[in-house]
């Protein structure tokens, strides 16, 4: 825990040196800022006008996403809206057809596969393996981008694994077989594996899809509390409203709305994007929006 706090502190320090986000306001008042504006807005992982086609179908159409460092961003939208494709492009697993994904201003291709994997970790909705692995084995996979060929795992690798296990509350489960874990525990192990990569950006593709409501809440509060920038593709609007600092809504490969949950999650937007009638009230935690769906189809929307 202590190490993580220190990491958070150094993260804030770095942000002071390259101001962006909340600090940008102060900066504007100062007369002559040292770092150029471009460098400041380059920080972290960002997609700029990313496009991708497959088999004549447009999957992504000029999507830009710049999650503020340290924030939790929800990625919303109906099935086939391009959420998964966007996450894969941002993880460097899929090359963008147009546009560019940058990590601190350098493109993913310039950063290199291993360089990206040391910074950006991915958790999928459902991890499947036939290999006999225990929890610690799975978490150790997260050290692969940090290790060299031929070399054995070093003490810093074991430290990172142990920290990830403690952080996710799995320290006493290290020796348990992966195949005996429940769905919720498996996802927690995958998050521990992602943390062992020591990422600053975490991309999660519908990580709560196969979980019961208790584990959904548990997993998302764990992710929201991590000292990383998290982008989470989600289906559940209430969960997105509860846990995300910002949400981005996609439809047909395009971004149709973005902002805080209160700004974005409205009855009109739900009708437009999902073709569903809903009542949205500010009854969630901290006055965040709460969504209740109504039967019957909504009128055709703007998008």
């Amino acid at each position: 825990m202590k190490r993580w706090d220190r990491r958070g502190a150094t993260g804030r320090l770095a942000r002071h040196e390259h101001p962006s986000g909340p600090e940008q306001l102060d900066r504007r008042e100062r007369p002559a800022p040292q770092p150029p504006v471009a460098a400041a807005s380059d920080e972290g992982l960002r997609a700029s006008r990313v496009g991708r086609q497959a088999g004549g179908r447009i999957l992504l159409d000029g999507v830009s996403l710049a999650p503020p460092p340290g924030s939790t961003v929800g990625l919303l939208g109906p099935n086939g809206s391009g959420k998964t494709t966007l996450l894969r492009v941002m993880a460097g697993v899929l090359a963008p057809g147009h546009g560019v994904v940058t990590l601190d201003g350098r493109t993913l291709a310039e950063t290199g596969r291993r360089g990206v994997a040391r910074r950006v970790a991915v958790v999928d909705q459902h991890a499947v393996t036939q290999v006999e692995l225990n929890v610690a084995d799975v978490v150790r996979l997260g050290r692969i981008p940090h290790r060299r060929a031929w070399a054995a795992a070093g003490p810093e690798d074991e430290d990172a694994v142990r920290e990830a296990l403690v952080r996710t509350g799995l320290a006493d489960r290290a020796g348990q077989s992966w195949h005996t874990l429940s769905g919720g525990e498996r996802q927690r192990v995958q998050i521990a594996r992602a943390l062992a990569q020591q990422p600053r950006e975490l991309l999660l593709d519908e990580p709560t899809n196969h979980l019961d409501i208790q584990h959904q809440l548990e997993l998302l509060s764990l992710v929201a509390a991590l000292p990383v920038t998290a982008v989470i593709a989600l289906h559940d609007l209430n969960l997105a409203a509860m846990f995300c600092d910002r949400v981005t809504v996609m439809k047909d490969g395009r971004v149709v709305a973005g902002g805080t949950p209160s700004e974005v999650i409205t009855e009109e937007l739900i009708a437009d994007v999902y073709r569903v009638r809903a009542v949205v009230t500010p009854e969630g935690p901290e006055g965040r929006p709460s969504v209740r769906f109504l039967p019957g189809e909504a009128a055709p929307g703007r998008f």
């Binding site: 950006v120 991890a127 077989s177």
Partner: protein, 361 residues
């Protein structure tokens, strides 16, 4: 917040426990490793003594010593010849084949994420047999081309066909396996066709013996060639050990861990196919070693390839040394094809392994 306050204590506790567990594991692995190497040396030494001519372990040592220039020759030329020219290369090639096939099987299973994969899944053995049959039965090459060379060429043809097929079919893992199955069927049919239409009874018997895998009549040339290819392949595979670990949750997960999936796949498929081709062209298609030994070794060493690959190699080597000894002595003076014995022993072993892993499914 109480959780944050308690965390440091918990960590210290966990650290010491984890440290102890890791220490015990290193010790256990070290012991397994040393025991394996000792067992392999002993197995080779003892296996050489077994056979019609009575030879003792000290005889083996003195023969080896004299040929390496360490001691003076004290054996009769005949006994020395039996040890050095007949039994020694055969036993060593058995060890190399066992090690190589087991390593190739491990890599194929991990890379293709298929527990049924083995070194022959890409049709290499069928291609090799077609190549061998074409040389033996049809006399292609007019005697200038050896059976081994024909088999090697056939194996490479088959592998190239599989690569081409899987590439045009989209290149995903299951496409590679399906292309392998297709190539295997095609070349088996070609082999049967040539044998049925052109071979006489004597040739058929020889071809069949070779098809089932046999280590009889091998020489030092085969040993050196196969050992060299094994050494290169093993070191390339060990260099990719952590990459192979990354494939546990699939290609996509491996890619997100920084693995160049396409490059890794082509490098490992090519090196293992080359090793398999070399082994098959020397000793025929010895089945089952590459399928069963990796599963058995995983049960012993866990699934981390850095430890798994060397241990699989050792296990495969020891296994095939003894199976070949059995194959050449059990029906003495007649010899049983070693591939028949591996399968007779392998099937019950495989059932045991499957039974053991049943609970986790």
């Amino acid at each position: 917040m109480t959780g944050t306050a308690q965390a440091p204590e918990v960590r210290v506790d966990q650290a010491s426990v984890a440290g102890r567990v890791a220490g015990a594991r290193v010790l256990r692995q070290g012991f397994l490793w040393a025991a394996g190497v000792a067992l392999l040396f002993l197995s080779v030494a003892v296996a050489v003594t077994i056979g019609p001519a009575r030879i003792s372990v000290p005889d083996v040592w003195s023969a080896v010593g004299s040929h390496l220039g360490l001691t003076d020759a004290r054996l009769t030329p005949i006994r020395d010849g039996i040890i050095w020219n007949l039994r020694m290369p055969r036993t060593l090639l058995a060890a190399v084949c066992g090690a190589g096939l087991a390593v190739c099987g491990t890599v194929m299973q991990s890379l293709l994420r298929n527990p049924l994969a083995d070194p022959f899944v890409l049709g290499v053995s069928s291609g090799a047999s077609t190549g061998a049959v074409v040389v033996v039965v049809l006399g292609v090459g007019g005697g200038a081309v050896s059976v081994s060379a024909g088999a090697f060429a056939g194996a490479l043809c088959s592998f190239a066909l599989v690569l081409l097929l899987s590439h045009t079919l989209g290149g995903s893992t299951d496409r590679v396996v399906l292309s392998g199955v297709a190539a295997m069927q095609l070349f088996s049919a070609l082999t049967s066709f040539v044998v049925m239409t052109a071979a006489d009874a004597e040739q058929t018997r020889g071809v069949l013996f070779w098809l089932l895998g046999s280590l009889s009549g091998v020489g030092w040339g085969d040993v050196w060639m196969c050992s060299a290819v094994l050494a290169v392949t093993l070191s390339i595979c060990l260099g990719h050990a952590r990459t192979l670990d990354a494939f546990a949750f699939g290609q996509e997960a491996a890619a997100s861990l920084g693995v160049h999936v396409a490059r890794t796949r082509i490098v490992l498929l090519c090196t293992t196919a080359l090793l398999t081709a070399a082994l098959v062209s020397s000793a025929g298609a010895i089945g089952f070693v590459g399928l069963v030994l990796p599963h058995a070794a995983r049960a012993l060493a866990g699934s981390g390839h850095r430890r798994l690959l060397p241990l699989t190699a050792l296990a495969g080597a020891v296994f095939l040394v003894w199976v070949d000894t059995l194959a050449r002595t059990v029906l003495d003076p007649q010899e049983v094809p070693v591939g028949v014995v591996t399968s007779l022993i392998g099937v019950p072993a495989f059932v045991l392994v499957l039974h053991r892993t049943r609970r986790s499914a």
